[in-house]
């Protein structure tokens, strides 16, 4: 029995189809949505959403944070931004990573909220680069 997955960014619907499993990056660790999963709402961090047909990963999308709404029959991912892994521009992402690293170096080390925000962004861009270059675990 498949589960209906939707990946929606503010601009458009990227994916809307049936798959067997979705693995997504929850704020507190990766989580898989499968049919008959208990209803759940979670916060996503920047990372990779993988769609599985059977046991094989079919498609990968990068999401830059967002929310997910899981029910036994469907899984809706509201992404702040979403890109298919095949369309990621590594050069552009690398440039952004460098920018963020610089900002990290210059940031006030006592401003914890800002540091946490930066760290989350850096991890998100790092995940984007990993996904784009294909060395995702």
């Amino acid at each position: 029995m498949p589960i209906k997955v939707e990946i929606i960014s503010p601009e458009k619907v990227l994916v809307s189809r049936d798959v067997d499993m979705v693995v997504m990056p929850g704020e507190e660790g990766d989580i898989a949505a499968m049919p008959e999963h208990a209803p759940m709402m979670l916060l996503l961090r920047g990372g990779i959403v993988t769609l599985y047909d059977g046991e094989t990963p079919k498609e990968r999308y990068f999401v830059g944070g967002g929310f997910a709404d899981m029910t036994p029959t469907r899984c809706t991912i509201l992404a702040d931004e979403a890109v298919p892994a095949t369309e990621i521009s590594i050069d552009e992402a690398t440039a952004r990573l460098e920018e963020l690293t610089e900002a990290w170096g210059a940031a006030d080390k006592t401003d914890v909220a800002r540091l946490e925000g930066l760290m989350a962004k850096i991890q998100s861009v790092q995940a984007e680069i990993d996904a784009g270059s294909g060395n995702h675990p």
């Binding site: 503010p10 619907v13 209803p39 759940m40 709402m41 929310f67």
Partner: protein
């Protein structure tokens, strides 16, 4: 009676006006289609967002300490109005409708003794309101209604509003925008953003469904969802307003083109009559001259 030369010049100028208006109509029609598909593509996100908020609000019902974005400040004293207009004119009543509605709302609120603050979006609204209510304008945004509206425009605006709310600068926030009914009609509509009118009917938890789990807790999720929801709502109004602008411009330019066509017909008729009169007069002069000999 105008001379033939003057008439020819008039006809020429109306013809070129007609060319311009009909070109503008075509452009608006093409842009309208794009704007409409954008507005449509953005709808599922807003719908899913509303559903999630509904579930969350349902789960949190009865708990206190709801964030300000949801419950407001508890006061109803300072109103922030955000009229959304376009940057360019020549769109019929599109902008003046919004401006009129805004003006009426300001008057009504002031008559009720409320303080009004303005944050106009779009050049036309800003220019208009600067004339009468310059002292009420706390900020403005121009250049949003371009070719494509990036989501960042909405999130910037949302961040501005959230910050002002946190600073306690206003109690109620309302957007006034043109709701897109169809190509012919756009309706100026007020939409209250803060406090968010999330009524119980919208939060309709399915009694058969199992209890939702939240990760992290409801409070944190709600705190993250609400600013996002604000941005999404603003984004939706911006997109709708952009589609409405093109629709209004298309209708206005269609009318203008038709009027120009009528004016050309009328002028051409006057031109021909004048020409005929002149020829007749000349003939009479020649004939009477010949008879006199």
């Amino acid at each position: 009676m105008a001379s033939l030369k003057e008439l020819r010049a008039r006809i020429g100028s109306v013809k070129s006006t007609r060319k311009i208006t009909s070109a503008m109509k075509m452009v608006a029609a093409a842009k309208l289609r794009r704007a409409q598909s954008h507005a449509e593509a953005a709808r599922p996100y807003a719908a899913a967002m509303r559903q999630m908020l509904g579930e969350l609000a349902g789960a949190m019902a009865g708990q206190d300490g709801a964030p300000q974005l949801l419950a407001g400040t508890g006061n109803d004293r300072v109103h922030l109005l955000i009229p959304i207009t376009s940057d360019r004119g020549l769109a019929g009543g599109f902008n003046s409708n919004i401006n009129r509605t805004t003006k009426l709302t300001i008057r009504r609120l002031q008559a009720e003794g409320k303080t009004v603050k303005l944050l106009p979006v779009g050049r036309k609204g800003f220019d208009f309101l600067s004339r009468d209510y310059a002292d009420l304008i706390i900020d403005h945004v121009i250049g949003v209604g371009g070719k494509e509206i990036p989501f960042s425009a909405a999130s910037d605006l949302g961040a501005k509003i959230t910050k002002r709310l946190e600073n306690g600068e206003f109690d109620v926030c309302t957007v006034i925008y043109n709701q897109f009914r169809n190509v012919m009609s756009q309706v100026p509509t007020p939409l209250q953003l803060i406090p968010l009118g999330l009524d119980a009917t919208e939060a309709k938890p399915d009694p058969d469904a199992a209890q939702y789990e939240f990760e992290p807790d409801e409070q944190t999720l709600l705190e993250r969802l609400l600013p996002r929801n604000l941005q999404v709502q603003i984004y939706a109004t911006l997109l709708e307003s952009a589609a409405g602008e093109q629709g209004a411009r298309m209708t206005a330019m269609d009318n203008a083109t038709r009027n120009a066509g009528k004016a050309i017909d009328r002028l051409t008729q006057t031109y021909n009559r004048t020409r005929q009169t002149n020829i007749t007069n000349e003939l009479i002069e020649i004939i009477s001259g010949a008879q006199a000999l």
